[in-house]
């Protein structure tokens, strides 16, 4: 058993005999309870030809089980007004419910039921593949942001599994079989590959006893090691263009940057605040508010288990060109590499870190989200507090060093979205 401080609270971490990890944050003042089930499997664990399986499986988890007919899982949870959903990303998949505190035993039983006793049939898999194909149309094929992001990552990673999108390639989605899904379930949805997170007005001992009863009987499994692939260094700039029915150009850039647990990640996060934060960030001013080149600008490092991308997305104004946007970005990046941020910029970054940290812990669901995410991505809930302290300690020279080391013109990935003739 470990106790880990988190803001005003303390988190208790226990590991059951079957390897299932349990994180409990008892907060007597919370009007609701948040209950999350995190699995240490995401699209990073997939192989070519079978992309999108982790995400398709997330959909299938809302289906039939040995003791619940189709639709009963959702119906029972929604009948008490619980908020529920799930998400899959590069490194993880999680299922979450938030509800009035009395309902925790029912939620634990339902989650245990689908974790261990899911039944998968032809018809169900066929239907869900079509739903996921529609989700892909929604998020990628009919969304310029989705399409651009997919192309950028595909080109930036040539061998690492971050190359493929979490939702999967369309051909792969439509090609999955029932056996693919069953095998995935057997392999990854084991207690020793999962963590339960509870935040709310709960009693720790009674909650642990509940989970021992609902989940403690499950058998541990042999979990395959994730692909051990290191993306080779990128020596030259990569560039591509995407025609799209959009009224304005979009300029997208990306550089490979380290994983969330890496010591340089905090400096890159502060660097992102200096460049993109609010309306006063350097690039916000130059591109959006003073230069009037872009309407919207976003950027920052990815927060993943493996090295990922530091991305910039600029939605340009009508008539403005990629060359103008790229030149403005080059000037600001060169400026940051040459001259460290001013004390006022660092003060801004520190205060924004505090605001973000406190806001993230506002609700029971927010706290459960932070706990699960850090536990699964970094392997340590204590990293939440440590990271905040690291962010507050970052100095001007750290930011300059990160700019020089990572945001190098020769290793960037460029994607330029141009309006098609029909839409221009």
């Amino acid at each position: 058993m470990r106790r880990i401080p988190l803001g005003r609270h303390t988190v208790r971490l226990e590991t059951l005999d079957n390897g299932l990890e349990v994180l409990i944050l008892a907060d007597p003042g919370s009007p609701v309870t948040a209950f999350h089930t995190w699995f240490k499997v995401g699209s990073r664990h997939e192989r070519p030809g079978k992309t999108g399986l982790a995400h398709l499986f997330e959909h299938l988890m809302f289906g039939e089980t040995e003791n619940l007919k189709h639709g009963e899982f959702d119906r029972r949870i929604e009948s008490v007004g619980a908020s529920m959903n799930a998400a899959t990303w590069l490194d993880w998949t999680y299922y979450h419910e938030t509800f009035l505190p009395d309902h925790l035993p029912m939620m634990a039983e339902l989650e245990a039921e689908r974790m261990a006793r899911l039944t998968l049939g032809e018809e169900q898999v066929l239907r869900e593949k079509e739903v996921v194909a529609n989700e892909r149309r929604f998020r990628v094929e009919n969304s310029v942001e989705g399409a651009a992001s997919e192309l950028l990552w595909k080109d930036a990673f040539r061998v690492h599994p971050y190359h493929h999108p979490t939702i999967g390639w369309m051909d792969d989605i439509l090609g999955f079989t029932v056996e693919d899904c069953r095998s995935f379930h057997r392999t990854y949805y084991a207690p020793n590959n999962a963590a339960l997170v509870v935040v709310g007005p709960v009693d720790e001992e009674r909650t642990l006893e509940l989970f021992r009863r609902t989940h403690g009987w499950m058998q541990r499994q042999e979990i395959p090691a994730p692909p051990d692939v290191v993306e080779p260094p990128q020596g030259v700039e990569r560039s591509q263009r995407l025609p799209w029915p959009t009224p304005t150009r979009k300029t997208c850039l990306a550089w490979r940057t380290p994983e969330l647990a890496h010591p340089d990640h905090a400096a890159l996060t502060v660097l992102a605040q200096v460049l993109f934060g609010g309306r006063s960030g350097r690039l916000q001013r130059r591109l959006v508010h003073d230069g009037e080149i872009a309407t919207d600008l976003q950027g920052g490092p990815g927060s993943f288990h493996d090295p990922s991308l530091f991305e910039i997305w600029a939605d340009l104004r009508e008539g403005r060109t990629h060359e103008e946007a790229l030149a403005a970005i080059d000037v600001e990046l060169a400026g940051l590499a040459a001259t460290p941020p001013a004390p006022a910029e660092l003060e801004t970054a520190r205060n924004q870190v505090l605001l973000g940290f406190r806001s993230a812990l506002e609700t029971a669901a927010g706290r459960a989200d932070r706990l699960g995410f850090f536990h699964v991505t970094v392997g340590d809930v204590g990293a939440i507090e440590r990271r905040q302290q690291e962010l507050l300690r970052i100095g001007a020279e750290d930011v300059r060093a990160a700019a020089r080391k990572y945001l190098v013109p020769a290793t960037r990935n460029v994607l330029l979205v141009d309006p098609t003739e029909a839409a221009s």
């Binding site: 005003r8 009007p31 609701v32 809302f62 189709h70 639709g71 959702d74 119906r75 929604e78 009948s79 008490v80 007004g81 619980a82 908020s83 529920m84 938030t98 009035l100 239907r127 869900e128 593949k129 079509e130 739903v131 194909a133 529609n134 149309r137 929604f138 094929e141 009919n142 942001e145 029915p245 959009t246 009224p247 304005t248 934060g277 609010g278 309306r279 006063s280 959006v288 508010h289 003073d290 009037e292 309407t295 919207d296 939605d315 104004r317 009508e318 006022a344 003060e347 801004t348 205060n351 924004q352 505090l354 605001l355 406190r358 806001s359 506002e362 609700t363 098609t420 029909a422 839409a423």
Partner: protein
């Protein structure tokens, strides 16, 4: 006369939410100048008598805060969240933006250009396009169907003098509501907010239009034509009763049973049984007047026609038969259980109070939600759907590639439907 003050304490959170809301909104923008109120609010945050726009932006963020301004149909607000340590200077800054905004000509021109660019950029968002098209037809060109941010055509007509006038009209004690949630005591709030706000004029020149939307007859379709769509965005519905009106509670409960949840009837038929769309939901919009009750779904282009036909058939069934006893019981449990999320945090509780006050909801609308929902009997629910659901008087807005999908829409909705088409980048949308 004094400014109303709402306070929701949240000791220990480490931050404070501040809101200054005026219960006058974009509905009173003059015809042809839609977006005036939105632009006025944008201009207000572009500097004070003693600070430039850049200085305001830098100060907000240095204080560990974020600040937003916005104009809805019936209210406008300036709101922010700040770390507890910097509450006092942040409150002073917010007050300065309301009491002493610079409203400079060059800031106006820049704010106007940015808002125009944002309106253009919004054309990338098919769901937003469908929602705007739906309201445009639903309110038949009336004030409630106009986008609060204006259109490219209307925004170009607004001048800085219009904004100066609008600021004078809006900012008065009569229409102002000062509100805070989080790590702050009421006595401190009174000192920080109420005393300075006494400098505002007592009476507001901003008038509510009092315009009430009128129900339309027949099926009216607006196709928003956009190239290369493999998926359509669909809004389909008509007016529904506002809070406090007859049948509001019955329709609210029936709507949740029909399409308010993942396991509701709509989602089961459209997504689970047929896989036609990633989602299918129904929703009753709460506002100061009657507003939309709509179904939102987004089928693949190939399934658009059958999906429209299915949904319309389901509306006929709902009107004729209403919800079942099981569905009613489920919806009541869902609404009662989920109502905790409406008041989960101090910020949520504050928002409910602001909403109730500025949108003229019955004072106990949220406090008594549980009692009213549980009082909806099967007879009341069915009376509500019989009276309110009108499958033959529908507004349908569809974003699609018309050359590919237009005929399917026409075939699904029948010969009696009035069908118009507008380009997705039309300056008036």
């Amino acid at each position: 006369m004094s400014v109303r003050l709402f306070h929701e304490p949240g000791p220990g959170l480490g931050f404070v939410d501040l809101v200054l809301a005026f219960d006058a909104g974009a509905e009173s923008d003059p015809d042809g100048c839609e977006g005036l109120t939105q632009l006025t609010m944008r201009l207000m945050r572009c500097g004070t008598a003693g600070r430039t726009r850049a200085e305001v932006d830098a100060e907000v963020e240095r204080l560990g805060a974020h600040l937003e301004v916005g104009a809805g149909l019936h209210r406008v607000s300036i709101r922010g969240r700040v770390i507890r340590e910097n509450l006092e200077p942040f409150a002073r800054l917010m007050l300065d933006l309301v009491l002493e905004p610079a409203l400079r000509e060059d800031d106006f021109a820049q704010a106007q250009r940015l808002l125009l660019a944002e309106v253009t950029a919004k054309r990338d968002d098919d769901q937003d396009l469908a929602g705007r098209a739906f309201r445009r037809v639903l309110f038949g060109g009336g004030r409630h169907g106009r986008p609060s941010s204006g259109t490219a055509a209307s925004l170009r007509r607004v001048t800085r003098d219009d904004c100066v006038r609008r600021h004078r009209e809006l900012c008065a004690q009569e229409t102002l509501l000062a509100a805070a949630a989080g790590d702050v005591e009421e006595v401190e709030l009174r000192r920080l907010l109420l005393e300075p706000l006494a400098a505002l004029p007592e009476r507001s020149a901003a008038v509510r239009t009092g315009e009430q939307p009128t129900p339309h007859r027949g099926v009216r379709v607006l196709l928003v034509d956009k190239p290369e769509r493999t998926q359509a965005q669909v809004y389909l519905g008509h007016l529904g009763p506002k809070p406090g009106r007859e049948h509001h509670d019955g329709l609210l409960v029936s709507s949740v049973a029909f399409g308010g949840t993942f396991s509701g009837r709509l989602m089961q038929e459209v997504r689970v049984k047929r896989g036609w769309s990633y989602g299918a939901y129904s929703r009753l919009t709460r506002s100061r007047t009657d507003d939309g009750w709509h179904v939102w779904t987004f089928p693949a282009a190939k399934d658009l026609g059958p999906c429209l036909g299915l949904v319309r058939g389901m509306l006929r069934d709902l009107q004729r038969d209403g919800v079942t006893a099981d569905e009613l019981s489920f919806a009541q449990g869902y609404i009662v259980g989920s109502s905790v999320f409406l008041i989960d945090t101090p910020a949520d509780r504050l928002e409910r109070r602001i909403e109730t006050a500025t949108l003229d909801f019955p004072p106990d609308y949220y406090a008594n939600l549980r009692g009213r929902v549980e009082a909806v009997t099967l007879e009341k629910a069915r009376a509500a759907t019989r009276a309110c659901v009108r499958p033959d008087d529908l507004v349908v807005a569809v974003v699609c590639t018309v050359a590919q999908s237009g005929d399917a829409v026409r075939a699904a909705l029948g010969d009696g439907a009035t069908v118009e088409t507008i380009a997705f980048d039309d300056d008036t949308l």
